[in-house]
């Protein structure tokens, strides 16, 4: 007869949610369900339930803190309505002043990574050394092994920070760029068209 009363007194999922909440406050990077499950020593499914509870509590319009799913995990951020105040007080060192060359290099690494500097240079037609160094320094890309074969160049991949800065859940969230797929054929047609017109 006493068990229902004890259930009401301490809801286990609610307590788990409080622990998850605490972990997310301490963390400086997104925490995955697996990491939260290991830290709380609890079942992943129950962790997800707790996370759903928290996402409802920490949502835009309800709280100044928002829980978001980003970079393969969960993390707190400021609500968008507080962005003006945040911008007056804080800097955005990671993405501030990214050059066009750095953005193109970042796109290549994000879509084709892990890839090496020579690969980036082949696609862009110019050396990518300074762009790669800048991205590494910002923490947007990182080394990921070497190419096979003698003198294998260092390969790079994007970091979780990249996904977080760009608000991506994972690299799979990048849009498909197949809409430009016809370009190669179109360009070739154009070249040959002009050639035959002029040669005749």
């Amino acid at each position: 007869m006493d068990s229902p009363l004890r259930l009401i007194a301490s809801n286990p999922v609610d307590r788990l949610a409080r622990t998850v909440e605490a972990l997310l406050v301490v963390a400086s990077a997104p925490l995955s369900v697996a990491e939260l499950s290991e830290a709380t020593d609890d079942d992943p499914q129950r962790v997800e339930t707790a996370l759903a509870l928290l996402r409802e509590r920490y949502s835009e319009g309800r709280s100044g803190i928002v829980l978001e799913a980003v970079a393969g995990g969960f993390a707190f951020r400021a609500s968008r309505e507080a962005s003006g105040a945040c911008a007056r007080l804080f800097e955005r060192p990671v993405e501030r002043g990214l050059s066009q060359a750095a953005l193109e290099t970042l796109a290549i690494v994000a879509y084709l990574g892990p890839c090496s500097r020579p690969e980036v240079a082949r696609i862009r037609g110019v050396a990518a050394d300074s762009a790669v160094a800048s991205l590494v320094e910002r923490g947007l890309i990182t080394e990921a092994g070497r190419e096979t074969g003698p003198g294998g160049a260092v390969r790079y991949r994007t970091t979780p920070l990249f996904e977080r800065v760009f608000g991506l859940q994972s690299l799979a969230s990048l849009p498909r760029l197949d809409d430009l797929g016809e370009d190669a054929g179109e360009l070739r047609e154009r070249l040959l068209e002009v050639a035959s017109a002029r040669a005749s």
């Binding site: 990077a29 951020r77 962005s83 060192p93 990214l98 970042l106 920070l161 002009v194 002029r198």
Partner: protein, 323 residues
């Protein structure tokens, strides 16, 4: 797709006249030799075309860069036919395909970069706490195990003060004229005539100059007579017919005796040329105890002691003994 300035680019080269597109196609079809194409002239034409426009067309510049670099690669491969040519091995159509494929690949990545820029703008109002210093990845340092005593030895070596650098060559120190005066007197006491050049042959230029000054002083006081057959001919020094002037010249000279910084009979004196002295030495005993000339070598002991040891007093002593 709207026509770009690159397509409009009209070329007037030695090997080709017409639009850039056609040139490229002819090259890809191998109807034109890449080596005959003046790439710099094409670049010049494009830059002129761009200069005529009011605003900079980045799109056109990018396309032109890709095309011109592809052309440059084709030309480079044609100039070095031995190099395994990736594009050269392809059929013209395949080459065109390859070129277009690369261009398209680059365009796709430019699109992707543009998407990232849009995304960044859209996510600009998301603020979050950054982790500890993602900006500076810590490089891994792999040092082999080090021996502390070796480190200490290295530190000791570094802590030792460096040897004092000798600055003696920076300042000219003149040996006193009086010493040379005495030496010439001594020499002339033994010999009636002395060849100046032979006597000062082993000395430095400065010492030779001081020796000449001493000679002039002696001449002024009438102690000696000088003769020279012609300019630059050997200077002959001989005893004057007048009796020697009594006062010691050294006492009249300003400054008096000074410390000699460097030897003025040198470490490698020139041997006296034959006939340097007109007269043989008065006796062998004198010759053995007295330096035969100003250019006598220092004894080994003197060399060991260094130049500092050869002060004026010792020279004067020798001079006195020889007199």
């Amino acid at each position: 797709m709207a026509p770009t300035p690159v397509r409009e680019l009209e070329l007037d080269l030695d090997a080709f006249e017409g639009p850039f597109d056609l040139l490229l196609t002819l090259l890809l079809k191998e109807e034109l030799e890449p080596r005959e194409v003046d790439v710099a002239a094409i670049v010049l034409s494009f830059v002129e075309l761009m200069a005529e426009r009011d605003e900079l067309d980045l799109e056109a510049c990018g396309e032109f860069l890709v095309l011109i670099s592809a052309l440059l690669e084709l030309k480079a491969r044609a100039l070095f036919p031995d190099e395994a040519a990736e594009l050269g091995e392809l059929e013209p159509e395949e080459a065109a395909e390859e070129l277009a494929r690369r261009l398209a690949e680059y365009r796709r990545m430019k699109e992707a970069a543009a998407w990232l820029v849009e995304r960044l703008a859209a996510e600009g109002d998301r603020w979050f706490r950054l982790g500890p210093a993602p900006l500076a990845p810590q490089p891994e340092r792999t040092l082999a195990p080090q021996d502390p005593s070796a480190l200490a030895a290295a530190m000791r070596a570094l802590a030792e003060p460096p040897p004092t650098v000798s600055l003696s060559h920076m300042a000219l120190r003149f040996p006193p004229v009086s010493q040379f005066v005495e030496r010439f007197r001594a020499l002339l006491a033994r010999r009636r005539r002395v060849d100046f050049d032979a006597e000062v042959g082993g000395l430095s230029r400065v010492e030779q100059a001081v020796a000449l000054l001493a000679l002039l002083e002696l001449r002024k006081s009438g102690e000696i007579a000088l003769s020279q057959a012609a300019p630059f001919a050997p200077i002959r020094v001989s005893r004057s017919s007048r009796p020697w002037a009594a006062p010691a010249l050294a006492e009249r000279l300003p400054g008096g005796p000074q410390k000699v910084q460097r030897t003025f009979w040198g470490e490698s004196p020139a041997p006296p040329p034959p006939g340097a002295a007109d007269e043989p030495m008065p006796s062998g005993a004198v010759q053995s105890t007295v330096p035969s000339g100003l250019g006598s070598p220092a004894t080994p002991q003197e060399r060991e002691e260094g130049f500092e040891a050869l002060d004026s007093e010792r020279i004067l002593t020798w001079t006195a003994r020889s007199a």
